[in-house]
């Protein structure tokens, strides 16, 4: 049977300042209805779309190094957005660490059934292979770093539940994997200055390879970030 340390009675969830204003609910309800009305009306009378940007993406797709238009937009045309977004993910992990720095580790170690460990021995490698496939297929079909990274992260969480393994609080290796995506992205961005005087300007023959390199780094970082965030949430 699953043996767990019996949790103490949890304190009630914190109340927000909105609880103190009784007139807030009807006022907010009316405003929300107004908001819906205004936005719906604006949506209804939207002008016919000019398809200039999708056509532009389709025309420039052969130069981007990948065949999937969404991957091209995320990792080539608008790669700067993705760079900042990876930084957001890394920042969240650091911020969560910082906020819980003075909290004690209360991670209850559950000893799972041996069946689950055996099950994970089968399932874990399968998930990793599928994640790798998702990463690779991103070039041609829906897929890519985020999907693969989420899958890998959930595999790690599943492994933690199935085998009872708890990660160390902090380690250099963990920090390295977390930062890998951001560092790779910035390094490639600055490295392209050797070829073209521009940031994140992949030389066209190298575009596909560079995108794959960045995506691999991001996959590992995303997986690590999601896993670490989960463990931090569990501790609090």
């Amino acid at each position: 049977m699953l043996t767990e340390i019996k949790p103490k009675r949890a304190p009630s969830l914190p109340e927000s300042p909105a609880a103190g204003f009784p007139f807030l609910r009807p006022a907010a309800a009316v405003s929300a209805l107004l908001l819906f009305g205004v936005l719906w009306e604006a949506f209804r009378v939207l002008p016919t779309p000019r398809a200039s940007l999708p056509n532009l993406v389709r025309e420039t797709l052969p130069l981007s190094g990948v065949a999937n238009p969404v991957t091209a937009v995320i990792l080539n045309f608008r790669s700067y957005d993705t760079l900042i977004e990876i930084a957001v993910l890394l920042l969240t992990v650091i911020g969560a660490r910082a906020a819980t720095a003075s909290a004690g580790a209360r991670l209850s170690r559950s000893v799972p059934e041996p069946f689950l460990a055996a099950f994970f021995r089968l399932l874990g490698p399968l998930i990793i292979v599928i994640a790798g496939y998702l990463l690779w297929i991103g070039k041609h079909a829906p897929g890519g770093a985020f999907q693969a990274g989420s899958l890998l992260g959930s595999a790690a969480i599943l492994g933690m539940f199935c085998t009872g393994w708890a990660p160390p609080a902090e380690s250099g290796c963990q920090a390295a994997v977390l930062c890998l995506g951001t560092i790779l992205f910035c390094a490639v961005g600055m490295g392209t200055y050797l070829a073209e005087p521009n940031f994140l300007h992949y030389p066209i023959p190298w575009a596909g390879t560079l995108i794959l390199v960045i995506e691999t780094g991001c996959t590992l970082s995303i997986a690590a970030a999601l896993f670490v965030l989960f463990t931090i949430c569990r501790r609090t």
Binding site: F77, L90, A175
Partner: protein, 500 residues
């Protein structure tokens, strides 16, 4: 389409270098303060290079990835952005100096010793977000940068590790997220109606239509929430009061101004055919209310940090009065120049004020205004810094605050907008009252002084330098205003023709 735009590399480096520095500090984890200071100097140097380049060559445009808008993201640096970037670099550099003294290794581990290792990476992320926000010329890119900014600010607030700080942080984050979501919905409407995300293209496409009004309202609401405009300012005083002093300085001086800067860009460059005088009155009236409400609440504040935080609410109100004053004739620089001047002068003065408050808190263990007797005897440098900062906050000559308020008042009288003029004058009087409240307590000679802990010299001197900068701004007004106009940024046509 591929277009080679040889923009200044500093534009991208000024974002990439802080990100790399943050990663480096996370990986090395030793001597974080040294790494942080080196990185700060490097970023400030890059910003300085960019400003010099703008002054010499004119506005800079960089098409990231080699793809010109609308396909790719463009970075654009004209006089306005250059000035904001320079202000950010100056304040951030001194916040770094102050922070290296505040988060000293020898502090007890329960308080700030362990958090020094978290302060520097988070601070680098914040600086990267500010730079990215200032230089971006793409509405969706601004959304991502706004999120980076908001999350890093909240993370820095929680460094105090105390319950009031975490409670304030949750409130701040909630408001910030609602604001970001509102901004994102506005972006979605913009794309739905206009089919592009770049400033230049949007400026030529947007007309007064339903979707433009909806987008303008959504984006402005989000940005006003992030700038703590009355009445959505309730999150700011607890957050700035309970954060560590260098964080409060950065938040009040830079973070609330960044979303204001974005709103300025949107209203006057992107949506300039869509905005109407009636629409512009909304932020103006709310700003006027903020001036009065913030100043009145500052008068009754018990603690020094609380007083300074409410002062921020009031000063941000001045900024939002630029919308009605500037919409009447956007190419006249009186109102807009005044608002930008206020951004810089207030940033210097407010950062200095928070640094002094932090010094007082560190030295005496408390910052209750009533018990500040005799502070001037033991901390003359800090109190002098606070005095100089106070002069700028009140708006007395020859400070930068005076130039700013003078310009705003002139614009209001040109209107003529008597209401706004009266509020500007009243705000100055109220600011005098709450600044002098601090001095009347601290400038008393007493014989019995409480416990005093010596604080590092750099904490006092960085406060003094920043407050003197706000004074210096007042003396160099003509040069600054001339630089800000590089690229005539508020005339839409200029955005279409600027750049190589």
């Amino acid at each position: 389409m591929i277009e080679r735009a040889i923009g200044a590399p500093e534009m991208a480096l000024v974002v990439a270098v802080p990100l790399l520095a943050a990663c480096a500090i996370l990986l090395v984890r030793r001597r974080t303060a040294v790494l942080g200071m080196v990185a700060s100097l490097a970023i400030a140097a890059l910003a300085g290079c960019l400003i010099w380049r703008i002054a010499q060559e004119g506005p800079q445009r960089m098409n990231l990835g080699g793809w010109s808008a609308p396909l790719g993201i463009t970075l654009y640096a004209d006089g306005l952005s250059g000035w904001m970037l320079g202000t950010t670099a100056l304040i951030a550099l001194f916040v770094s100096v102050y922070g290296s003294g505040y988060f000293h290794r020898n502090q007890p581990a329960t308080q700030f010793g362990g958090t020094a290792n978290f302060f520097w990476p988070l601070w680098m992320f914040l600086w990267a977000a500010l730079n990215a926000l200032i230089l971006s010329a793409d509405v969706f890119n601004i959304y991502v940068a706004l999120e980076l900014l908001g999350l890093s600010s909240v993370a820095l607030v929680t460094l105090s590790q105390a319950a009031p700080a975490v409670s304030a942080a949750v409130r701040y984050l909630l408001v910030s997220l609602i604001g970001s979501l509102s901004y994102l919905m506005g972006t979605a409407f913009l794309y739905a109606g206009a089919g592009t995300l770049g400033f230049k293209e949007l400026a030529s496409i947007l007309h007064p239509e339903s979707f433009s009004f909806a987008a303008l309202a959504l984006m402005s609401t989000g940005l006003c929430m992030k700038s703590a405009l009355f009445p959505l300012h309730f999150w700011l005083p607890p957050a700035h009061e309970n954060a560590p002093a260098p964080v409060s300085a950065a938040l009040s001086a830079l973070v609330v101004k960044a979303s204001f800067f974005v709103m300025l860009r949107l209203w006057f460059s992107v949506f300039d055919r869509v905005v109407t005088e009636e629409a512009a009155m909304v932020p103006g009236i709310l700003g006027a209310a903020a001036v009065i409400a913030g100043s009145v609440q500052a008068l009754s504040a018990q603690r020094l940090k609380q007083l300074v935080a409410y002062s921020t609410v009031a000063q941000v109100g001045y900024l939002f009065m630029v919308f009605p004053l500037g919409v009447l004739n956007p190419s006249s620089w009186t109102a807009v120049g005044g608002a930008l001047y206020l951004v810089s002068a207030h940033a210097c003065a407010k950062a200095a004020a928070f640094m002094v408050a932090g010094n007082v808190l560190r030295a005496y263990g408390h910052d209750r205004i009533e018990d500040l007797r005799g502070v001037v005897q033991q901390m003359p440098v800090s109190m002098f810094a606070f005095a100089v900062a106070g002069v700028s906050l009140i708006g007395l000559p020859p400070s930068g605050g005076f130039i700013a308020k003078w310009l705003l008042l002139t614009a209001a009288l040109e209107g003529p907008e008597w209401g706004f003029a009266a509020v500007i004058v009243a705000g100055g009087l109220l600011a005098t009252a709450y600044i002098f409240r601090v001095f009347s307590r601290s400038f008393r000679n007493v014989t019995d002084l409480g416990d005093f802990k010596k604080i590092p010299a750099r904490m006092e001197w960085s406060a003094l330098t920043l407050s003197l900068c706000s004074m210096l701004l007042g003396l160099t007004a003509t040069h600054v205003l001339e630089f800000m106009q590089a690229g005539t940024p508020l005339i839409r046509v200029a955005m279409m023709e600027a750049g190589p």
